[in-house]
Amino acid sequence: MVRQLIPEFERMNPGIHVIVQQIPWTAAHEKLLTAVAGESTPDVCQIGNTWVPEFAVLNSLEPLDPFVGRSHDFHREDFFDGVLKMNVIDSTLYGIPWYVDTRVIYYRRDLLREAGYSEPPRTWEGVLKLSDVMRRNANAKGIQRYPFFLPTNEWVPAIVLGMQSGGHFLKDNNTHGNFSGPQFRTAFELLAKFYHKEYSPSGMQLITNLYDSFSDGLISMYITGPWNIGEFSRRIPPRLQNEWMTAPLPSMDSISPGISLPLGTSLIVFRQSRRKEAAWKLVEFLASREQSIAFYRITGNLPPRRSAWEDTSLARNKYIQAFFKQLQRVDPLPQIAEWEQVVIKLQLYVEYIATNTLSVDEALRKFDSEVDQMLEKRRWLAERDRKP
């Protein structure tokens, strides 16, 4: 997709020739780590913004502050704050946000209307009430309905709830797990309620196809990202096209919307690159307001710059307004190289509490000890740095 933008760049910068190499997203992370170890990295690369801490630990990313300082086009204020923060480690900027992927609720308007709601409630308390009404209505009719689908193979809902209840996933300067602390416990107990009261299915067997289940009304609300706007437009049958909508996340406090995640991808320059000036030019070009709008038009990926959202092509799309509201309140995730490993393991514990294999207390205690083991090296490094 990005190939379509390149001719314009090459026209503006004669003398720079860009070779675009595609790698499947699922293999990209492993492939790039291997490339770093094998010293065969590209000049510019798109990476998931949650990978930045890992590549920074590898000492493989070029600090971008000097380039940004000289740039005319790059204004930090123009970027959504939480999104930009994902690229800053120890106050050094390593990546430029390229597109954002925050998470919002997709819901069935008709099914919520049946329960007396015009949109999802603004608090989780309200969502529980709504779910209860929907569940009871369905039971009265003798049909199977799960108001709020929280997949047991996704870590996003658990982490979103954890952030809303105050974050603090880790403690002691990110060297110990703090999931059994009061904040995350609140979040996990709320999550468990959805499974135990059967507001959400507690396994993945039932939902083999998200879009079918959504169309059938088996599920009415689901937290997901911007790519599903396209998928929903294609896969939901025409008769229901007017009946799905997006909304920002409910909140655990009185401020709306509730905090969501500033996921997405960033453009980075590898330290080993021998053409850093040219590499930066490409990054600057791709991250510019104009190109991020062009990229949105081609792919539907949402721009990380506020100014780009003023463009009519974005303003006209009714489904992305929720994303705009949501992006005003996104908080960065802990920036440690082990984070991915932590959240993948968390999914297993979500499965454990969903299926009642473990109680919330047991699950969080065990999970914390696993996290502590993952962070052992961090503790040792911190200890070593403290000594003179």
Binding site: H29, E30, L33, T34, V36, A37, E54, V57, L58, N59, S60, N153, M204, Q205, T208, N209, D212, A337, E338, E340, Q341, L348, E351, Q373, K377, W380, L381, R384
Partner: protein, 299 residues
């Protein structure tokens, strides 16, 4: 006498010379990496170490101790044993069965069947696994469609923790039996025809001939096939990697997949290397046991 010695030396030198290229290749691509991995398994080489070699620590046997303290390892080992003990015999039985059929005097179009049965072996496992994932799809898969004609409710082949591993066994057996079949066919063709003629004259029926001639005469082939299959099956990786990523609830997590995840996903190279050597030990013990049992049986 002396010239004889010199001749011997010359032969040795020539032998070394001819062996040098392959020995070098083995040293560079096998011995050195294996030794480095062994050293690595006693360290905590990880993502921090790739960035800065000064932070590597010598761990002694702590990686190995940690492996045995990790519940996931035991789960992966159990899954792998399940795969070996169910899939291995099944694979050998299917190979032997098809070899007998293809080799039978009654069979026609032998080359055709040989090719068809061998085809999965030479097909890329990745492509095969992707296609089988479609076959296993709970809602749109051909397998469930076929079963629906018999009134069987849709089965979530790869999503159900109890069924996912058997589903992978079926795929692996289908994928691999052709190779062993060819070896069995070669073994069958080495059995002298006059043994069967003699047995026939003595009045032995087909079953007696199979039990008293075919099976004993195939024993060396069978030893080889079982050994190769078991060693291969212990290294189960690509099938769960592509089809289930070890899920659901780690029901298809294998030892090699765990090693891969630790090594290349989380970059815990020291720990992953230790897993590799534990697996090596398991395979070694298993192979020795197998040899002992087979010796006993032969005596």
């Amino acid at each position: 006498m002396s010239s004889g010695m010199r001749g011997h030396d010359n032969h040795t030198a020539a032998a070394w010379l001819f062996l040098a290229p392959s020995l070098t290749a083995i040293a560079v691509f096998f011995v050195i990496p294996v030794l480095s991995a062994l050293v690595m398994s006693f360290t905590d080489f990880d993502i921090y170490a790739v960035g800065n070699l000064n932070v590597v620590r010598f761990m002694g046997f702590r990686n190995y101790i940690r492996i045995f303290e990790t519940p996931l390892f035991w789960k992966a080992l159990k899954n792998t044993f399940y795969f070996v003990l169910v899939g291995g015999p099944l694979s050998v039985a299917v190979s032997l069965g098809t070899a007998l059929m293809v080799n039978s005097k009654l069979a026609r179009f032998k080359p055709f069947y040989r090719t068809v049965y061998f085809l999965p072996v030479v097909t890329s496992l990745v492509a095969v696994a992707v296609v089988w994932r479609y076959l296993y799809h709970p809602a749109h898969g051909l397998l469930n469609l076929a079963l629906s004609f018999f009134g069987v409710a849709p089965i979530d082949w790869l999503g159900n923790p109890d069924i996912a591993m058997p589903a992978i066994v079926v795929l692996a057996v289908w994928k691999n039996f052709g190779y062993n079949m060819l070896i069995f066919i070669a073994g069958l063709q080495n059995i002298p025809e006059d043994l069967y003629e003699a047995a026939h004259i003595d009045g032995a029926g087909g079953w007696r001939q199979f039990v008293d001639i075919t099976i004993p005469m195939l024993a060396p082939t069978t030893v080889f096939v079982v050994m190769i299959t078991v060693i291969g099956y212990f290294q189960l990786f690509a099938e769960p990697y592509i089809m289930t990523e070890g899920g659901p609830m780690n029901a298809t997590m294998s030892v090699v997949l765990m090693m891969y995840e630790q090594g290349f996903r989380w970059w815990n190279m020291g720990f992953a290397a230790a897993i590799a050597f534990v697996l090596f030990a398991v395979i070694l013990i298993f192979s020795i046991l197998q040899l002992i049992i087979q010796r006993r049986l032969q005596q």
